[in-house]
């Protein structure tokens, strides 16, 4: 049976989070009542003229800088002509031959792969090459009902970045990692909310198979309607299986566009090459070209520390493992939260804080399905709890119980510890009395210890924990016992 090589390219549309639309000053806000953010320009009324939104251009150039793209000296706008009711002026303002960004790449972070694929990454450290990034306008939203199609133009004319990759992705897992890494970078740069579920980030997948040994790419099949990260992975797996089966049977695949039906788990034919669109791009006479150099410089000042840079800094500055640093850096908000907690009390080892954030905080947030922003535990209160544990005032298990309470109620550690009666007795006077009791009651054990059986200390400590109702500080108890039996 012949083996096939899979080649995947992604076209990602990311909504920029500007205040106003791309070509008119209507609010670029989501969730408003239908058709309450429109004007003659975004409704496509005759005679209306578009004006560029500088911030949208700068955010696109910033994205280009974060992804190591180049920028042509002059960038311009073109009309992409087609007829569809969600775009009533019958052309989309877009960029054809002089887009804002050219080339560049998206680094695939290890932790951006699906969890079950992180142990078997085929190309570690891979950077997926980009073709281009251009800026265009989004279209209106159509809702299909029995009575007809309803159109809402609030979204029409909002700025949309199209990020086009080279056919440089080898598998569904790499496609997943590409999108996850790209999302992280867009969020780091503050250019897009990049939430797939909310439609801020949309993705079309081009996928082709060719027999091993053939250099020419196979027929390009485009997949649409991919609304979540997991749907993209499922769709690619299903499509690779479908194309493999077809090629095995000797069928010839033709260039086409398919729609992914996530519920049925299969792709459905939308159109083939014969009715592929011919967009007849031409320069838009209404919009003037821009000289990019000063804008790129302005954007350069806005380039943030990127996820991989933050990860490296966390490792070096806080002495945490590469894995932990990667987990913390994978989410900008989480990284900020951690740094606040680690900085709240510099006497507390940052490594311990990192453990608490990753194991306890993230664990509980995931379990409760709560986003970090809504966490009742604040960075300073976690730092306080960790410092109490580090001082040996409560045990690790008690601290976990305290944390659960903090997570549920938002209360600080100290009152919870008091209420639970967890405060450990470190008062040596009280502990010495307890130690004396155990020693005098167990002369045989004392002899055993003197004969070299160190485990006696654990047994005695256990007795004292019992008699103190769990409040004795085991570390201090051990020291006292050793001193007394020496």
């Amino acid at each position: 049976m012949p083996k096939y090589i899979t080649t995947i390219g992604l076209e990602v549309h990311a909504q920029l989070n500007t205040r106003s639309k791309m070509f008119c000053p209507c609010p670029a806000e989501y969730g408003a009542e239908p058709n309450t953010h429109t004007c003659p320009t975004c409704l496509g009324l005759p005679g209306a003229l578009p004006v560029l939104n500088l911030e949208a251009i700068e955010k696109t150039l910033l994205t280009g800088l974060m992804l190591n793209c180049g920028t042509p000296e002059i960038s311009k706008w073109d009309r992409k002509n087609y007829f569809y009711p969600d775009m009533p002026k019958n052309y989309q303002l877009s960029q054809f031959d002089l887009p804002l960004c050219i080339g560049g790449g998206v680094p695939l972070y290890d932790l951006a792969y699906p969890k079950d694929a992180q142990k078997s990454i085929k190309n570690p450290g891979k950077v997926v090459k980009l073709t281009r990034i251009h800026l265009e306008e989004d279209v209106g939203k159509s809702t299909h009902t029995g009575a007809g199609t309803m159109l809402d133009f609030n979204r029409a004319g909002t700025p949309l970045m199209e990020i086009v990759s080279d056919p440089d992705i080898d598998s569904a897992e790499e496609a997943f990692a590409y999108l996850t890494s790209l999302r992280q970078i867009l969020i780091y740069g503050g250019v897009s909310d990049a939430d797939m579920e909310k439609g801020n980030l949309r993705c079309d997948v081009n996928i082709s198979l060719r027999p091993e040994g053939q250099t020419e790419l196979g027929a390009k099949i485009e997949l649409k309607n991919l609304n979540s990260m997991s749907a993209i992975r499922r769709a690619i797996h299903a499509e690779v299986a479908r194309q493999t089966e077809a090629l095995d049977k000797g069928e010839k695949l033709i260039q086409s566009t398919l729609r992914w039906d996530d519920e049925r788990g299969e792709t459905i034919m939308m159109r083939t090459k014969e009715d592929a669109h011919d967009y007849r791009y031409f320069p838009c006479p209404d919009l003037l070209p821009i000289r990019t150099a000063p804008l790129v410089e302005a954007a350069r000042a806005r380039v943030p520390e990127l996820p991989h840079q933050k990860r490296a800094r966390f490792e070096a500055a806080y002495g945490i493992s590469a894995y932990d640093a990667g987990v913390l850096a994978s989410d900008k908000a989480l990284a900020t939260w951690f740094e606040e907690a680690a900085g709240a009390d510099t006497k507390v080892p940052a490594k311990k804080v990192a453990n608490w954030v990753i194991n306890e905080l993230l664990g509980r947030l995931n379990e409760a399905g709560t986003p970090l922003e809504e966490s009742l535990v604040k960075p300073a209160s976690l730092a306080e709890l960790v410092s109490i544990v580090e001082a040996g005032k409560i045990s690790n298990n008690q601290a976990k119980e305290v944390f659960a309470e903090m997570f549920a109620s938002g209360e600080a550690a100290t009152p919870i510890i008091k209420a639970k009666g967890f405060e450990q007795v470190s008062d040596t006077g009280a502990l010495e009395a307890l130690c004396d009791e155990v020693i005098s009651a167990n002369p045989a054990k004392v002899e055993e210890f003197k004969a070299g059986n160190d485990k006696v200390i654990n047994w005695m400590t256990g007795q004292i924990m019992k008699s103190s109702g769990g409040k004795a500080n085991p570390k201090v108890v051990g020291e006292i016992l050793r001193g007394k039996m020496a």
Partner: protein
């Protein structure tokens, strides 16, 4: 005349319905336009900067400040059909 144009395809893309006579007429006219472009190829343009726009003006933009536009009743005023604050058209399914 070196160029041939599939005028019916071009007309279809522009949602135009051409009569036989119109098709013949426009086909000839468009072919002439393309022929004219060939005169450019006869010149050495290697030192000429790419023209990004017919106007020699650059960098016209606005700051990212939002302004309310039309109110909904105005926006929908010309709609032949509307429902629930939205334009209503014949059902389109891709």
């Amino acid at each position: 005349m070196a160029h041939h144009i599939d005028i019916q395809h071009t007309a279809k893309l522009a949602r135009l319905k051409l009569t036989e006579q119109e098709a013949v007429k426009y086909e000839a006219q468009l072919a002439k336009v393309l022929d004219y472009m060939e005169t450019l190829e006869g010149h050495d343009l290697s030192g000429v900067e790419l023209t990004a726009h017919a106007m020699p003006i650059y960098d016209v933009w606005r700051e990212d400040v939002s302004v309310e536009g039309l109110d909904r009743a105005e926006a929908l005023a010309n709609a032949p059909r509307k429902t629930a604050g939205q334009f209503l058209i014949s059902r389109v399914v891709e």
